[in-house]
Amino acid sequence: MTGVGQRSLWRDAASRLAANRAAMAGLVVVALFAFVAIAAPILAPYDPAAGDTRNHELDPFWGDPAYRSAAFPLGTDQLGRDVLSRLIWSARVSLLIGFVPVSIIVTIGVAVGLVAGYYGRWADLLLMRAVDVIYAFPELLFVIVIVTAARGTWIGELGSGIVLIFVSIATVSWVGMARLVRGQVLALRGLEFIDAARAMGASDRRILVRHVLPNVLAPVIVAVAFGVPGAMLTESALSFLGIGIKPPTPSWGVMINEGFTLAIQSPWPVLMPAVCISVVMLAFTFLGDGLREALDPRA
C-alpha cells in the first residue's frame, strides 16, 4: 500500500473481486455457462432438433429403471429429443439474448443518461420526455406488442426470430438505464469535485470520462448484472408464450413451453431448463453484487 507503484481503480477492483467468494462462484458459473454456449456443437451428443419418437419421454438417469437409457443421461422429451443436447444448445440462445440486448441497452442508456444529466436544459427535456413515453408502457407488454407486430416481416425471420427479440428488448429497456444514469449524474453534478475539475480547466469530455462515468459505473454494472438474466427471462417468457424463438431452435423458454403440457407425467423436461435459468440468474446476481462492492474503494 505504501509502495509507489501504479494503482488504479480497475486493478484494485479486480483484487477485491477475487477476494469475494460468492462473486467468484458466480463468475465460475457464468464462465462455465459461456463455455457451454460457445462449445455447444462439440459438447452436445445429439442434434437438438432431431428426435426419435421411439425413445420419447425417457426419464433421466436417476428415474425409473424401466424408462431410462444410458444413451440419454437426462432423458428425452415427448418427441424423443435428447434433453441434454437441447439444454446445451439453449445456452447459446440464452447467452446471445443475455448479452446482445444488454450491450445495446448499456450503450444507448448510458450515453443518453450522461448527456441528459450533464448538459441538462433542452437535451435533458427532449431525451427524458422520449424516455417517459416508452417508460409509460408495461415492459413485457411492450415487448410482446413489438414482437407480434414485426413477427411476420423480414426482421422476424432473422436467426429464428432471435434478432427481433434483441431489438424489442433493447427498444423497451434502454429507458431504465437512461433514467438510472441521469439520476446519478444529477446527484454528482452538484458535487465540488466536478467544479474542481472545471476550475482546473478540464474539458467536458474529460469530466464525463474521468469523473462522472467512474462514479456512475457501480449502479450501471449492477443493472447489467440484473439485466442479463432479466433479458434471458424475457426471452423465456416470450418463447413460453410461443412468440419468441421459433422452434425447432431450442431455448430454455421454448423447452418449458413445449414441456409444460405434459409436466404432470414427465416433469423433467420442464424442470431442467427451469433449474438452468435459476442457476444462471443466481450466478449473475452474485457476480453483480460482488462487482458493485469491488468498484467502491471505500468498501
Binding site: 494503482r7 465540488e192 474542481a196 476550475a199 474539458s203
Partner: protein
C-alpha cells in the same frame, strides 16, 4: 449597478501603482427561476450577486465575509467563470474573462484556482491522491509519467503530507488531510490567484489553524493572491489584508483590515463585528452587541433602495427609495450607506 467614477475600481485604476491582478466591475449573477414542464418560462430570478465592484492586488489577501446565502461563494465562482455571469466584467491581468471562449478560458484557468469548502465532496472518491493532484498537470500538459509523479510528491511535501501517499484514496484521510490534498491540487499548476471558498469552515477547530497557517506560508512562498471567502470574522481578520462585507448580493463595505475592524462605517458591518466574542472576560461582559431583527430577505425579491434597510436601526425614508452609492469615505475605505459611521 453601474461603475461610478468614485467606485473602488475606478479609484484604484487612476492611482499610480501597478494595475490590479483582478478587477471586478458590476458583477451580477442572476439564476433564473423557471416554470412549466415543456415550455419553460422565466418567472423570476435569484439575484445571488447583484452588482459587485472590487479589485485584488497581486500578493494580497482580500477577505469576503457575510451571512450564509449573501452571495459570497457565488461571487467567487462567477469570478472563476464556473458560472457564466449575467452581467459585469472580470478583468484578470487585463483580460476580461467573461468574454473568453472555451479554449482561451481553459488556458487562463492555469493561473487561477479554487480551494473548496467541503473536503469530502471536493475530491473524486474513485481517484487516487496521485491522480487527483496530477490531473491539472495532465490537463495543462505540464508533466507526464515520472516527472508528474515527482511533481505530485513534491506538492504533497509542500502541503505537509507524506509523499508516499500517492496511491491512497481520499477516504483514507481525515478532513484536514483532505483539505491539504485539495490545496496541493490547486497549487499544481502554479497559479497566481486562488479563490478560497470557506476552506476551513468544514474542519475541526484544532485543524483550522493548521490549514490557515499553511495557506499563509504558501502565500509567501509562491507569492499567491487570495480571495478568501469566510463567515468567521476572526479568521478573516487574521488572514486578510483587506476585507469586503457582503449583504444580499452586494458589497456594502470594503476597507483595509484594521480600518474596517476599528471603524466600520456600514451598520451591517457594525452589527457583524459586534457579534465577535472578545477573548478577555472583563471586556467581553461589557461588549455591546447589536442584535439584528428579522431574517435576511429573499434574494428573489430584495428590498427596494438599500437592501439592508429592512433590518437597519438607522433606516430613514430615503433608505427604502434610493440605493446608496458605493463610495469612498476614507482613504481605501468604501461603503454603501446613506448614513455611514
Amino acid at each position: 449597478m453601474t461603475v461610478t467614477a468614485r467606485g473602488p475600481v475606478a479609484q484604484g485604476s487612476t492611482a499610480s501603482h501597478a494595475p490590479h491582478l483582478l478587477e471586478v466591475t458590476g458583477l451580477t449573477m442572476h439564476f433564473p427561476i423557471t416554470q412549466g414542464l415543456v415550455f419553460q418560462r422565466q418567472v423570476g430570478a435569484v439575484r445571488a450577486v447583484d452588482g459587485v465592484d472590487f479589485f485584488v492586488d497581486k500578493g494580497e489577501t482580500v477577505g469576503l465575509v457575510g451571512e450564509s446565502g449573501c452571495g459570497k461563494s457565488t461571487t467567487g465562482r462567477a469570478i472563476l467563470q464556473l458560472y457564466k455571469p449575467t452581467k459585469g466584467a472580470v478583468l484578470f491581468d487585463g483580460t476580461d474573462l467573461t468574454k473568453l471562449g472555451g479554449e482561451a478560458m481553459r488556458k487562463q484557468r492555469r493561473r487561477m484556482q479554487m480551494i473548496f469548502q467541503d473536503p469530502y465532496a471536493s475530491l473524486n472518491p474513485r481517484m487516487t491522491v496521485g491522480n487527483i493532484i496530477g490531473e491539472p498537470l495532465e490537463v495543462h500538459e505540464l508533466a507526464k509519467g515520472q516527472a508528474k509523479l515527482n511533481r505530485v510528491q513534491e506538492l504533497l511535501r509542500v502541503v505537509g503530507l507524506n509523499p508516499y501517499f500517492t496511491n491512497r484514496y481520499p477516504h483514507e484521510f481525515s478532513g484536514g488531510q483532505r483539505q491539504r490534498i485539495g490545496i496541493a491540487r490547486s497549487l499544481a499548476v502554479e497559479p497566481d490567484f486562488i479563490v478560497c471558498d470557506e476552506p476551513i469552515s468544514a474542519l475541526d477547530v484544532s485543524i483550522q489553524a493548521q490549514v490557515i497557517n499553511l495557506l499563509e506560508e504558501l502565500q509567501s512562498k509562491f507569492n499567491l493572491t487570495y480571495l478568501f471567502i469566510a463567515h468567521d470574522l476572526s479568521v478573516v481578520r487574521h488572514i486578510s489584508d483587506r476585507v469586503a462585507v457582503m449583504y444580499l448580493g452586494k458589497i456594502v463595505e470594503l476597507a483595509d483590515r484594521d480600518e474596517l475592524y476599528k471603524r466600520p462605517l456600514h451598520p451591517y458591518s457594525q452589527a457583524l463585528l459586534s457579534a465577535v466574542p472578545i477573548p478577555d472576560p472583563a471586556v467581553e461582559t461589557k461588549r455591546q452587541r447589536i442584535i439584528l431583527t428579522g431574517d435576511v430577505p429573499s434574494p428573489v425579491n430584495p428590498p427596494s433602495g438599500c437592501h439592508f434597510h429592512t433590518r437597519c436601526w438607522k433606516a430613514q425614508a430615503v433608505c427604502s427609495e434610493v440605493d446608496p452609492e458605493f463610495k469612498v469615505h476614507a482613504p481605501r475605505h468604501w461603503a454603501a450607506c446613506h448614513f455611514p459611521g
